[in-house]
Each structure stands twice: as C-alpha cells, then as structure tokens.
Symmetry: C2
Subunit: 246 residues, 2 copies
DNA sequence: CGTTATCTTGACTGCTGTCAAGTTATGTGG
DNA sequence: CCACATAACTTGACAGCAGTCAAGATAACG
C-alpha cells in the first residue's frame, strides 16, 4: 500500500512479520513501521533486545557508534560535559523514541539510562543499508530528529529564560506528558530522574531543585511521596507555574 | 545582475545548470548540490533571490510556511518567546545554511534577519515534490537538520552550565568561526547582533553582556571598535575564557 | 545639529549557589 | 529482622553572581 518500489527480494525467506516485531509495533509505532515484512525479517535476524539497569552508561562521549536502538521501556539521558566536570543533560528519550545519530561515527554525547530500560538494538550497518534501500525509512529517521530539534529548542527557552521555579514545574510537566506513551497527561507518576539528574537537566543545583519542589508541594500544586512519586491533581496550575500559557 | 529570473529559460529537459546556481554553488555548496541539472532548472524557474534589511521579520511564530530558503549572505536569528515577553534566540543561521522546517505547516519560531541578508527563496511545494523524487535531497536536508540539532545541544550546555563571562566568550568564538563561510576562524569581524540580541541568545541581560565584554576588553583578550567591531589576536585565550578546552 | 537608539557604568537588590548539618530512603551483612 | 553504612534528599545560613533601576556616554540617523 505504501509503495511497490521497494519490494526487494522475494527469496527463501518467509515474509511474515516477526512475532516480536508485531507485538512491539502494536504498542510503540516506532521507526520500524515503514519497513516491509521482508525488511523486518532481515532486521530481526540481527537485532536483539537488551535490558539495562538504571544508571548504566550505554554510550560514552567519543565512543564509536555501533548500533541504533529503539527504546521499548524506560528513560535515557543524553548529556554533555565540560572539562571541569560541569554537566548538562541535553535530551531525555522515552519509549518509543529511536536513538542514534546517523552519518556520524563517533558519539558527541553520553547516553545513560535513568531507570531500568529495555531497548531493541539495531546494528548500524544493517540499518544504514536499509536507509539506502528505502527512502521511507530515512524520512522516519529525519522526522524523529526534527522532533528532537524542536524539543531541544523548547528546552533552550526554559534554560535561558525561566526562573528556578518555572524550570522545575516545566520538568514535572515534561515528565507527566512523556512518561507513559499511552497517556497524554499523567496525573501521577514516578520521577525517572534523581534530584542530581534534574539539576543537570535544568541547569540548577540539587539544593535549588529540592527547595522548589518543596515550595510547589507547600502550595499544593503537587504531592510527593517517597521522594520519587509525584501526583498533580490540577495540571492547569502546574502549566501556569511552568510559564506555559498563552 | 542580481536578479536571475530573466536568465534564458530553455526547455525543461535541457540539462544546463542555470548560471545563477552554478555561481552560487561554487561559493556555498548548499542543499542544491545534490540536484540534477534538470531539477536545478526547474527549481530555478520558481525560486527568487531576495534581500532583507537587518531587523526584518521573515517568518513569525504561528505563520504558514510557504517557502524554504538558502542563506546566501547575512545572519538570521531564530527565536522563541514566552507570553510575558521574555525571549530566547534558539538558533543563528549563517550562509550557506538552509532554512526551513520540513513536515510542518506552521512555524513554531520567529525568524528575523540580524543584519542585511540575502536569501534564495524556494517554494515549499516544489521542494517537497523534489524531495519525493530524489532521496539524495532528503538526505541533505536531514544532514542540515542534524547539524542544527548538534548546535542546539552544544548551546544548551552553554545556557545551562556556563558563567556570564564564559557565555559571552563562547558567543564571540561562535561568531568568529561562523561569520565567514570561507574562513575557519576569523580574528576580526563585525558582530551581527546588538547587545540586546546577544543577551537574548545567552540568556542574560544587556547590562551583563556589556560588562563582560568590557572585562574581556580590559584583559586584552579582545579589542572593540565602534561597539560592533571585534578583534581577537589570541584565539586560544578566547577559547579558554569560553570554557572550550580539553 | 538635534534626536533617538545603543551601549556603558554605577549602586543596590535578590535569586540561586555554596557550604554545612541533619533527615529520610535504600541496601547489605550478620 | 535488625544494625549499620551509604546514598539520596531536605533544610538552614550565608555569599556572590547576575538582575534591576538609573544615569550618563557614545554612535547612528535624519
């Protein structure tokens, strides 16, 4: 239906969609959606699922990129560091995001899981070849990267122009809207990041993050249980605190 | 001579590269480089060069995107605003950057020329059609957007974690390395941005920018003439002041 | 030459960072 | 299950960097 052009090899391989993929696709609608059944079979032969504990460095700054991956569950932090150790998280990736930087051999950032995370690893060579074969796939990657660019620019406004209070509220709202791929705005969720991570994401210190969380709690904009679990009964107030209003 | 529209139009299937394009390509190696001669002729029929004075709003937040453009000369600011007027510049585009946001009808940011700027306007419809015809073009657009993503993330580190001094030095270094497409590191250049623009780019106030510029001048890391012209004889010291060192 | 925009400088305030102590969670070995 | 150690978080006191307000200087412009 999408196109007949990229019907490639009709060979010994059976062209049914691998069971693993169809289960994944049903839930995640990720990058693989544009592939033909044949291509999925081919990719599935080389891909593998992996589960990482929270706090695992998946790719380090300067390391060789040998694979792309689909995030099936969990959260990954992308960060950059200055030589003196100051750190900034420049992106958070949630399921069902695709991770990887095409056309570049070496990572310019560090990728680290924030919580237990499951991914589907796709060998670089295979994907790169498929990109050449099917323009639809390149388009999908392009769109994923454009989404990341939009998100990065949104966050630049937060980093450069918002107060500590607005930054923390913005972060909470971001998590509420991204933590569950099936829910638009979760009113109750576990924070995938420690206070230190949140500080690195917002360009603040741990102490300031903590103080602002306490303030938001005292004003009953949020409730906090066990440090990590947040409930927000009135999203409108959270958005206002975040400076998201028109 | 500037206006290329009246260049002889031959048959669409004549495969001579339009004179205007080959002159442009020689200097800028932009997006059009992947097009066939036929495609260039086609595109050239509909494209037009335009010159904007500095401070012209090219596209407003929320406006319909009717065209892409190649920057031939000048600088364009991309910015976002909060409802109360706080503003953040989220990207600077120099020649020979390609400007445009594929797959989206409406601009999420404002584009404004910082100085007198000349662009080659490419109608959206034509380019979108060509993208479907030639995967090479999509790839080129993808790569341009990836470059912008890398730049946005670099700048997030600056916004979130650098001091005012480092921010200003980082900005000066950015201009030194981008203002002239033919020079890697210019030691002498005119600032394309006012102090107010610089403040909006760095997430600072005008006064702080001014004070830090004065300090860098007093330390002889830079010289300033007429407020706008900067000379830096020792780039290494500027990089150090910018926190760019490994 | 006068008007206006842009930029610089100073005095002061306040937000966020720093340093330090204390509290609450999490995990481990006995 | 408890005692202990460690990590994560909160809170307080204080300091300093950058913001605010204000005035004056310089450049741009008609």
């Amino acid at each position: 239906m999408i196109n007949g052009l990229s019907v490639v090899r009709k060979d010994i391989h059976n062209s049914e969609v691998p069971a693993l993929c169809s289960a994944c696709e049903a839930r995640h609608r990720g990058i693989c959606g544009t592939l033909t059944a044949d291509q999925l079979v081919e990719l599935n032969k080389h891909s593998k699922r992996r589960k990482f504990a929270g706090g695992t460095e998946v790719i380090g700054q300067g390391e060789t990129l040998s694979a792309y991956s689909n995030i099936l569950r969990g959260v990954v932090k992308l960060s950059k560091m200055l030589s003196d150790g100051r750190q900034q998280i420049v992106g958070l990736q949630f399921a069902p995001d695709f991770m990887g930087r095409p056309y570049v051999e070496e990572s310019q950032l560090t990728a680290e899981t924030a919580v237990e995370t499951e991914v589907c690893l796709l060998p670089r060579q295979i994907v790169d070849r498929m990109v050449n074969e099917s323009p639809e796939l390149e388009r999908k990657l392009h769109q994923q990267n454009l989404k990341e660019l939009d998100e990065a620019r949104d966050w630049m406004l937060t980093l450069g122009r918002k107060t500590a209070r607005e930054k923390v509220a913005s972060f909470l709202y971001l998590i509420a809207t991204h933590i569950d791929p099936e829910v638009e705005e979760a009113t109750s969720f576990d924070l995938p990041l420690t206070r230190a991570d949140i500080a690195d994401f917002l360009g603040l210190t741990i102490e300031t993050v903590s103080r602002q969380m306490t303030k938001l709690r005292r004003e009953s904009i949020i409730q906090i249980e066990n440090n990590r679990h947040v409930t927000c009964s009135n999203m409108e107030r959270l958005r206002t605190a975040a400076g998201i209003d028109e």
